[in-house]
């Protein structure tokens, strides 16, 4: 475990010393801040618009961070051969993958916390400190975090065997498909063909389902998030991540570092 934590800590250190990360956080904070202006032109629904824009910015910018930083950090290690001096030490490749994942996960968590603090600040500014901030906002942020962990897991799988450009393309494609995964299943049901139905059902279970993680609309309307949904998303994330990280470990374990 010490070795995994050492790798995670180093990954975090590398990520926070990367200037791109700060640009992305700044961009996200600007987007969250700009929701004040949008709120001004939306009479009586300032809070709704701010939560909507703020959470969406966190979700999208977070996904961009997860994809690009996740892929870049793994590929850089392979390209620059920094891995040689690490993997020659008494380290299992699985430990390396887990360390990288934990480090990236922690980086994303810190970034989300910074963005969430920005959003809460904006909400307090709008309500002049009078309106309470509902706990469902924080649950929504947690669900965004789970989603980002899944994206990081997918990015790790692709970067364990593919080029950075292809890895980014595949991961982004899965991110977008994952947003509409439930529609694939509905399409199969509507198609009225057993063959199509079995294909769409298989795809539904195989591809990540991010639809259940998106509670932004509900939260902005002040609707509470069902605990069952939170529990389902948590179990789903753990199971899916287990599969993704196992796949990364197996693929990366067989790879020759040329």
């Amino acid at each position: 475990m010490t070795k995994i934590l050492a790798i995670a800590q180093n990954t975090f250190k590398e990520a926070i010393r990367d200037k791109i990360l700060y640009s992305l956080i700044l961009f996200a904070l600007l987007m969250i801040g700009s929701s004040i202006l949008l709120g001004m032109i939306s009479i009586n629904i300032e809070t709704k618009v701010t939560i909507d824009v703020g959470l969406s910015a966190m979700s999208v910018i977070g996904a961009v961070m997860a994809v690009f930083i996740g892929i870049n950090l793994v590929h850089k290690e392979i390209d620059k051969k920094t891995l040689y001096s690490i993997l020659s030490k008494p380290i299992h490749r699985t430990q390396f993958i887990l360390g990288k994942f934990l480090g990236l996960g922690f980086t994303l968590l810190v970034n989300l916390v910074i963005m969430a603090v920005g959003l809460v600040g904006v909400l307090m500014f709008i309500s002049r400190g009078t309106g309470g901030i509902h706990s469902s906002l924080f649950i929504a942020v947690f669900l965004i975090f789970l989603q980002l962990l899944l994206i990081t897991g997918i990015a790790l799988v692709f970067s364990s065997f593919s080029t950075p450009a292809l890895s980014a393309m595949f991961t982004l494609a899965l991110y977008f498909i994952g947003q509409f995964n439930a529609d694939i299943r509905h399409f199969g049901t509507a198609a009225n063909s057993l063959a199509i139905q079995s294909v769409t059902t298989s795809l539904y279970y195989l591809l990540p389902n991010f639809g259940n993680f998106n509670v932004i609309a509900g939260v902005s309307h002040g609707r509470p998030i069902a605990w069952t949904l939170l529990g389902y998303d948590l179990i789903y994330s753990i199971a899916y991540l287990f599969i993704l990280l196992s796949a990364s470990a197996v693929i990366f374990g067989r790879r020759d570092l040329k």
């Binding site: 040689y84 020759d256 570092l257």
Partner: protein, 317 residues
Amino acid sequence: MIAIQIENLTKDYPVGFWRKRQVRALDGLNLTVEAGETFGFLGPNGAGKTTTLKLLMRLIHPTSGHAEILGRSFTDVSVHQQLGYLPENPFFYDYLTAEEFLNYSARLFDLPAQSIPSKVTALLDVVGLPAARRLQLRKFSKGMLQRIGIAQALINDPEVVFLDEPMSGLDPIGRREIRELILELRRQGKTVFFSSHILPDVEALCDRVAILYAGKLLGCGRLDELVPQETGSMELMVGHFNETLRNELQAIGKEISMAGNLLRVTLADQGALFRAVEAVHRRGAHVIRILPGKESFEDYFVKLFAPPGGSARAKPL
């Protein structure tokens, strides 16, 4: 006791985009290195030296064959607790300082936290980088990177040290320091396995060497077994000579040439040497040096690897 035992180790790489074909980088290598030996691994570029080291370090997987290090399979992760490795042209995390990088390396060996700071300080001193402790590795020169690479390879006080081209990128002073370091490791009873292109270093440091060419082992043994030490000829350096002596020596010697203001005479055997020395004495000139006509390892190496139209590189299967 055997430190490294390599048996029939072979590595094929697939090359090509559509129709992949296999290229054999290492072909059935068999090698034994005794504990405490300083072992030189030689061969021209593309001969398979780095491939061998990367196989032993588990960075690539063998096509066939096996190796044992300190009596355990090289695939056993725990054996790597006692190994140190310096990769060829090392590149490390450029955002870390020298101290942070060595700390990180130490943590990967699970070394006790309280012992790490003193180890880091001692190693930075050993490799001559105490002033660069808080300098980011991105600001390091090639030679400094090589030194920090050696420091990370020694952080766990390893039993066996693998060094891939340790002298590469170093200036003459740096080379000399690393040579001293390898000698010190030998004095401490460590096994050092290093690949190099710099033959005088190999001659100065190694107990035994292995020579690799196009993935195959050409020879393995002590330098004096591999390289003919005496060719029978002698070299005589003469000072304060005159034209008469020069003509006389030309008749006795095989070859005659000037080296600065000295006369260099190559003589075929000891009889010729005695006649030449007698002539020098008789003409009142000075014998400056007599050198045995030893073929240098470099001469041997060049002869070995310069077959007409040959290539040291790995061949397609």
